[in-house]
């Protein structure tokens, strides 16, 4: 009995996630790969065997070898080093705009769902407009009109992503604001703002975590795609999408140079998806309890 009670007390979201990682092999794999990529990105200058920007024309399109594990590209730069450095761009691009998009979407969704009426109408129609466009097309348009730069890429990726969060948070707020504990908070004289952020928002966190793990790979993919299309990162930046794009014409003669960064994208995106699935399974029952 005592043990049971202690177990109940230990039952927090964090411990659920830990338990999930122990049993869910796919999610654990995702978490490990993401951790490795984060480490590599942080320590890129220490783990990279070569300077990723050092051009060595004598050594163009070198094969995979002991010296260059992933070969060299058309400028003779070490592909592995460039992938390591590219992890920085991909992770930053994956995380920052997604987090910005989630913050914007959450704030708008809370206001929209809590107050309803005219504000709700305006915010939701804005979200409809954003969601009505294919997101890549919208990002392309924004990049073309703002100009190609890393900051504008952030903006474009944040703009295309806030709509889903806003809608999801609004839907949850709609159901949560009818809950008795919100009414009880109101009966205690708690202000609207405090109810939204202290009482409703924490109940949305598991959902937001899942949205985040789904948004990040999408942003990584979008960055790679936009860079591939020439409106993302600018050369000579080491970005995975750009690397695929730069080396695509050698796909048949020296495939590894273009495929290696592609595999990096694939690995990171899949890892985030696996982790996201695991998180949803671990946290959903927490919500319905």
């Amino acid at each position: 009995m005592q043990n049971q009670e202690e177990a109940l007390h230990a039952d927090t979201a964090l411990l659920r996630i830990a338990a999930m990682l122990r049993t869910d092999k796919k999610a654990a794999f995702g978490a490990v790969v993401i951790a490795i990529f984060i480490l590599v990105a942080l320590l890129a200058n220490a783990v990279s065997p070569y300077d990723p920007y050092k051009i060595d024309l004598a050594n163009r399109l070198g094969p995979m070898s002991a010296k260059h594990l992933a070969g060299t590209d058309s400028f003779g730069r070490d592909v592995l080093s460039r992938i390591f450095y590219g992890a920085r761009i991909s992770l930053v691009i994956g995380l920052l705009p997604s987090i910005i998009a989630i913050l914007i979407g959450t704030a708008l969704g809370l206001v929209s769902g809590y107050y309803g009426g005219f504000i709700d109408f305006i915010i939701m129609r804005l979200a409809d407009i954003v969601l009505a466009f294919p997101s890549l097309l919208l990002a392309l348009v924004i990049m073309y009109s703002l100009g190609v730069s890393l900051l504008n890429l952030f903006i474009a990726l944040a703009v295309i992503n806030w709509g889903v969060t806003a809608r999801t948070v609004r839907a949850q707020t709609l159901s949560l604001r009818e809950k008795e504990f919100v009414e009880a908070a109101r009966a205690c004289g708690v202000s609207d703002l405090a109810i939204m952020f202290r009482h409703i928002l924490p109940n949305c966190i598991p959902t937001l975590l899942v949205i985040l793990t789904l948004d990040i790979p999408e942003a990584i993919l979008s960055e790679a795609t936009l860079s591939f299309l020439g409106v993302g990162a600018e050369p000579p930046t080491a970005s995975w999408g750009l690397m695929v794009s730069e080396n695509k014409q050698f796909l048949f003669s020296q495939p590894w140079v273009a495929i290696a960064p592609g595999i990096a994208v694939l690995l990171l995106v899949i890892s985030f998806n696996f982790l996201g699935d695991g998180l949803r399974d671990a946290l959903d029952p927490f919500m319905s309890e």
């Binding site: 008795e180 009880a184 009966a187 004289g189 708690v190 202290r198 109940n203």
Partner: protein, 325 residues
Amino acid sequence: MQSVLEIKGLTTHIKTKAGTIVPVNGVSLSVLKGEIVGIVGESGCGKSMMAMSVLQLLPAAGKIVDGQALFEGADLLGMNKRQMRSIRGDKISMVFQEPMSSLNPTMKVGKQVSESLILHTKASRAEAKERTVQIFQEVGIPDAQRRYNSYPHQLSGGLRQRVMIGLALALKPALMIADEPTTALDVTIEAQILKLMKGMQAASNTSIILITHNLGIIAELCSYVYVMYAGQIMEQAPVFELFAEPKHPYTQGLLKSLPMLGEHREKLHAIPGSVPNLASLPPGCSFCPRCDIATSACYTLKPGLEKISEARKARCLLYSKGVAL
């Protein structure tokens, strides 16, 4: 004695797809200082809506169309949002039916009580925490220090309701509205909670409006009772007089449907029919379709709330002067 809350002719409308309904129809009641007043009635008779009207916590479709709610002399219904917020929780608090769903599942229970303390008394976090632990001890939560850091799902129903009562009484309000506070609890816990409420009330001299459908609870706690039906007060009386001699046929029916110890009955009495649809009330007395002694006059004449004796009133044509039944 001085009254804490004086409701006069409160009328609330709710717009629904089926038309406007009137869950609270000209209700007047008064609560004296330190008194426990009971409001009893079937589900859907407007008890909760009346409480929500007083605190201006009606759903968006609801609207107070008439009446006054004088709280310590000031009309609550004329107050703006800000004034209402400073009253809620501090001067008038509320205990809800479901202790599970009225506590935020993502917040430690102690934090929820201290949030209210910080909000209304400008206490520091440390003071609020200390005071909260003290309140938890007062409402009989064992191991209060540890329970401060518990989440609602880690507590039993009885403990949760103790937390709610602690929350409601934390700021020593003048009035506490308890809306079916024990309906979700089993009987032994119910008895404990009622005892706790009575004890806390005696200690702090807080007035209580107790909303329930359970006449047993009324008999145990209240000194004065209002019987509500279809949005109206049907009968009001001091609790002993009501149980000894119910005047209104509805109250008589309610009392007859209580099981009694030491009495052999094949089947409990039940009032036939069910609560009328508030959107389409009969033109006469709203209870007449279910009344045993209704006459043709009952179907056409609306009875007023007639004074029967000094402290009693009933809404029935039986007591209306000059009406031939």
